[in-house]
């Protein structure tokens, strides 16, 4: 008799996840990605009206992110993976004997394992009057909607609590144009993370930004005000008046289910768990902010993620555990860099400290070391947190300190060797705490072939969370490549032993205007299809001379050389500029007539303009002549340069538009048209956060808010889509343009050839913060140069087609034969869908022929 037991299907284990917050979702994701995921069925309940979103980025909601932008998952994703979800329904009882739960709506569901991921709730101190209508909290998207609504009718706003969240909230109120106050019970701000000196400097900086800070204030009662809605009376007899109040006085673990149904909780709340995240009930786990481990609550998301992992591991028979977490933090509060590591208050017996204060630049750094000065115990950094990345692993790994530990916080002297580089870190050192990536993980990935920063980041995820470690990731990469004896050869090609950036500097500083000069002085041979177009592009970026001049023509690639995009049969596409997609009805008629006359295949592009296809070489000047007479100019669809600025219709017509997106888009398109760059780039301008222009998928995305423009940078559609990073908010027109000018020129100078802005950004050590420091704070002192360079390009703009049409010598080249008026007789088309040039009859399988990265194709 054959054994049939293993043929019977095992009933999947039913897991109920109570709470679909950040950690609950992480748990589900881990189950879904587990190799044995088929053995589990997941049901999750969310009290909130939506699935999990990024609470950490909650404040971004005030600077233009929508609820959709913040989502961590989607109904589609859960459907695809068979995860059942019930939103807007709170789990209200647990029957531990029957192993069922009941929700407020009366739904009953049985479980094999129950996971409590109920998070925490804001603590509202019991102050008389604290329940008034405009007394709010800061935890969910709905809270933010309430704050926004309340702020509309308010002039003054107070945040009670000067911790991390309180300050974030105060900034939001400030940005909502309220007179913002922070009221703190303790003698300083961020009392948990900062010492006295750090807290004091942070206070000065925040006050400089226009936020009022009141410390050592104990709110006794909230009563009706005289000049504002409310008056807050303090224990010391003083008071302030305000129209709204947000409580941010700490969080309390959401442990009511455990409390009611006799699962062990801590004295001061929190569901007690062991290293496997099991509660006192062997079928019930607790993870995230509701859980209490070793008497501690962890109010950060990373430890919650580790708990989620440990719980999944325990359920699936693995061995990962939760063994505590480090609560060090690094963040930017209202533009002020702040970091705190370990024992920031020097509470360890015998601890010694070193302090560096730079009043002029507003920098405070303090090291706390062991009595024998051998190991690092804690750090406080305000104003400059660059050292965080190296100091954190030193504390965690208990590394031996250098003889003079103070070198770790003293400013680096130009030319002096860095006191302590990444090379000194052990492999176990945690580099990316968001994604739990160690130095050893990075090294492994580098050995496996991820030798570019962007690759390394995408395969390990390091540096893709908060981004704070991205400079460190770069340093690990460089150090390891050096270790491996791999010479990082970024030479442009065999003809130039220089990188693109170096050559650009040569062109700039040595004032070189032709390829021949550059090749003679800095290169060898004849050049090639790599260096010629690259140098042609750099010369054009910097000098902006005619690309078809006698000297430049030899450098131009397939498309530039005839100012049209070559198609697979050798004909060209013709794309006039239709700035921002705005075109008059007459303009459309003119285009139509030209299309008919030359029998061109016509298509609307993704960039809101019109492409003509099937123009033969000799027809290009004829077509362009007519286009220019009809008032059009070249659209540079053939160049590595600005393509289009896509816009929505904006406030001129749209009921929701906040600003005139079309005018801004035209303005930007006219400004940057013709700028040759390392690769093509696109812009988008949306008139409100509904984002109809899809600006966040562009190299530069501009989105209107009620207070100005938000600028997103380095987005990309295409093969590897990437949303732009929010670079700055609420800008006026002039500042917006100034920032784009500077970023563009910085990109043109420093990117590799054919490197899109997205990859440029991903490869930049220091990432977004670094870019901001270069562009906003002018850290490199180059901003004036960037603007001068940009203005030169703008001032010397000429329509290349107009110029070519005026130059009979140049026009000679636009003939198929130099010695005959005949034309190419190999072209053949088949009519389709009402267009006579619809299909190119000759077969051609592109994939099998394509070589190299650049295939001239349709403009998108």
């Amino acid at each position: 008799m054959p054994d049939t037991t293993d043929l019977q299907t095992v009933k999947p284990l039913k897991l109920i996840v109570v709470g679909n917050g950040m950690v609950g979702h992480k748990f589900i994701e881990n189950v879904v990605n587990h190799p044995d995921h088929e053995n589990y069925q997941v049901i999750t309940f969310s009290e909130e009206p939506r699935l999990a979103y990024d609470r950490v980025q909650l404040s971004a909601y005030f600077s233009g992110k929508t609820a959709d932008d913040l989502m961590l998952t989607s109904e589609d994703y859960y459907d695809q993976h068979g995860v059942k979800y019930i939103i807007k329904d709170k789990v209200s009882t647990i029957d531990r004997a029957a192993k069922t739960i009941t929700t407020e709506s009366g739904r009953v569901e049985s479980y094999d394992k129950l996971i409590l991921a109920t998070g925490s709730f804001p603590f509202v101190p019991p102050i008389p009057g604290g329940d008034a209508e405009h007394c709010l909290v800061y935890r969910t998207i709905e809270d933010l909607e309430r704050i926004t609504a309340s702020a509309k009718g308010s002039k003054v706003g107070v945040v009670i609590g000067g911790g991390l969240l309180g300050l974030e909230c105060a900034k939001a109120l400030h940005n909502l144009n309220l007179e913002a106050h922070v009221v703190e019970f303790a003698p300083r701000l961020m009392a948990v993370q900062l010492d006295e000196g750090g807290g004091a400097l942070l206070r000065t900086k925040i006050e400089d930004l226009g936020v009022h800070v009141h410390t050592e204030k104990n709110t006794k009662e909230i009563v009706a005000g005289e000049t504002c809605r409310y008056r807050m009376n303090f224990a010391d007899g003083s008071h302030i008046e305000t129209d709204m109040i947000v409580f941010s006085a700490g969080i309390r673990p959401q442990d009511e289910l455990a409390r009611q149904f006799d699962i062990a909780i801590g004295e001061r709340g929190g569901i007690t768990i062991d290293d496997n995240c099991l509660t006192s009930d062997k079928d019930i786990y607790a993870i995230g902010e509701c859980a209490l481990w070793d008497g501690k609550i962890f109010g950060l998301v990373a430890p919650g993620y580790t708990m989620a992992k440990a719980a999944v591991s325990h359920i699936t028979g693995g061995s990962e555990q939760f063994t505590g977490a480090d609560m060090s933090t690094k963040l930017k509060l209202m533009g002020v860099d702040v970091a705190s590591i370990g024992d920031a208050h020097a509470r360890t017996e015998g601890a010694q400290t070193y302090t560096y204060i730079n009043d002029a630049e507003g920098i405070y750094k303090r090291l706390i070391v062991s009595a024998d000065k051998s190991t690092l115990l804690g750090v406080v950094l305000v104003g400059d947190t660059d050292a965080y990345g190296t100091l954190l692993p030193m504390m965690l790994e208990k590394m031996q300190l250098p003889d003079a530990p103070e070198v770790l916080i003293l400013p680096q002297v130009e030319g002096g060797a860095s006191a302590f580089g990444v090379a000194a870190l052990p492999d176990s050192a945690l580099i990316c705490s968001c994604h739990d990536v160690t130095k050893g993980d990075l090294i492994e990935a580098i050995h496996a072939g991820a030798t570019e920063l962007s690759e390394l980041k995408s395969c390990t995820k390091a540096g893709t969370g908060c981004g704070g470690c991205s400079a460190m990731v770069g340093q690990v990469l460089n150090a390891e490549l050096e270790n491996m004896g791999m010479e990082v050869n970024n030479n442009l090609c065999e003809h130039f032993e220089y990188t693109r950036q170096e050559l650009f500097d040569v062109i700039r500083t040595k004032k070189i205007k032709t390829f021949d000069e550059l090749l003679e002085q800095y290169g060898s041979g004849h050049g090639c299809m790599t260096c010629k177009p690259a140098v042609g592009s750099m010369l054009a970026t910097y000098w902006n001379e005619y690309v078809l001049s006698d000297d430049n023509i030899q450098l131009q690639d397939t498309n530039d050389i005839f100012l049209g995009n070559m198609q697979k049969d050798g004909t060209y596409s013709v794309v006039p500029r239709i700035a921002a997609g705005e075109i008059s009805a007459q303009g459309l008629i003119d285009l139509g007539q030209i299309g008919v006359k030359y029998d061109l295949y016509t298509k609307i592009t993704g960039g809101q303009r019109i492409d003509f296809f099937g123009a033969q070489l000799h027809e290009l000047p004829l077509i362009w002549d007519e286009l220019i007479q009809a008032g059009f100019e070249t659209g540079h669809a053939y160049g590595k340069s600005l393509r289009t600025v896509k816009s929505c219709v904006g406030s001129t017509w749209c009921r929701y538009g906040m600003m005139d997106s079309v005018s801004m888009a035209i303005n930007l398109e006219m400004r940057y048209k013709g700028l040759r760059s390392p690769h093509k780039f696109k812009l988008g301008v949306s008139g409100c956060t509904r984002e109809c222009a899809e600006a966040q998928s562009k190299d530069f995305g501009v989105i209107a808010t009620d207070k100005g423009w938000n600028l997103y940078v380095c987005g990309n559609g295409g093969m590897k889509p990437r949303h732009g990073d929010l670079f700055a908010s609420d800008l006026d027109d002039a500042t917006l343009i100034k920032y784009i000018d500077r970023i563009l020129m910085f990109y043109c100078r420093t990117a590799d050839r054919l490197q899109r802005t997205s990859v440029w950004m991903d490869n930049m050590e220091g990432g977004l913060d670094y870019l901001k420091s270069v562009v906003i704070d002018d850290k490199l002192g180059l901003c004036e140069d960037f603007e001068t360079d940009m203005n030169r390009v703008i001032d010397t703009y000429e329509c290349e087609w107009k110029k070519t049409l005026n130059n009979p010598e140049r026009l000679k080249r636009f003939a198929h034969f130099i010695n005959s008026d005949a034309t190419d007789d190999r072209l053949a088309y088949e009519a389709d869908r009402g267009q006579s040039k619809a299909r190119i009859a000759q077969p051609s399988v592109r994939e099998s022929k394509a070589k190299g990265e650049e295939i001239p194709a349709l403009e998108v």
Partner: protein
């Protein structure tokens, strides 16, 4: 063998330095290139066997390990200007033509 006939195509100055032109020659399309300060001339078939189009005269000229090459404007295969051999695929050799400079004129062997 002195009775070789040469057909005049154009002036040498009609070709921009380091670029090509296309000539109609005995019913065939011929790409002619002018390279370097010495104004050396080369002639290849204009038809790109990979892209299946008459476009080679519009490619970029360069050198690879000292060998002068032309890169197709379509899919960037490179061909020796001297021999017509494709660098990426030995089995493909383009037809080459005899070309010369005579009194400032470009001539192909008839």
């Amino acid at each position: 063998m002195s009775n070789i006939n040469w057909e005049t195509i154009c002036n040498v100055s009609d070709i921009n330095k380091n670029t090509g032109v296309c000539a109609l020659h005995n019913g065939e399309q011929v790409a002619i290139f002018k390279v370097g300060k010495e104004e050396q001339l080369f002639a290849l078939q204009n038809y790109d066997p990979f892209g299946e189009a008459n476009v080679l005269s519009r490619g970029i000229i360069g050198d690879v390990d000292g060998q002068l090459v032309l890169a197709s404007p379509l899919y960037k295969q490179q061909f020796s200007l001297e021999s017509g051999k494709c660098l990426e695929d030995d089995s493909v050799i383009l037809k080459t033509y005899m070309v010369r400079q005579q009194d400032g004129l470009v001539q192909l062997q008839a």
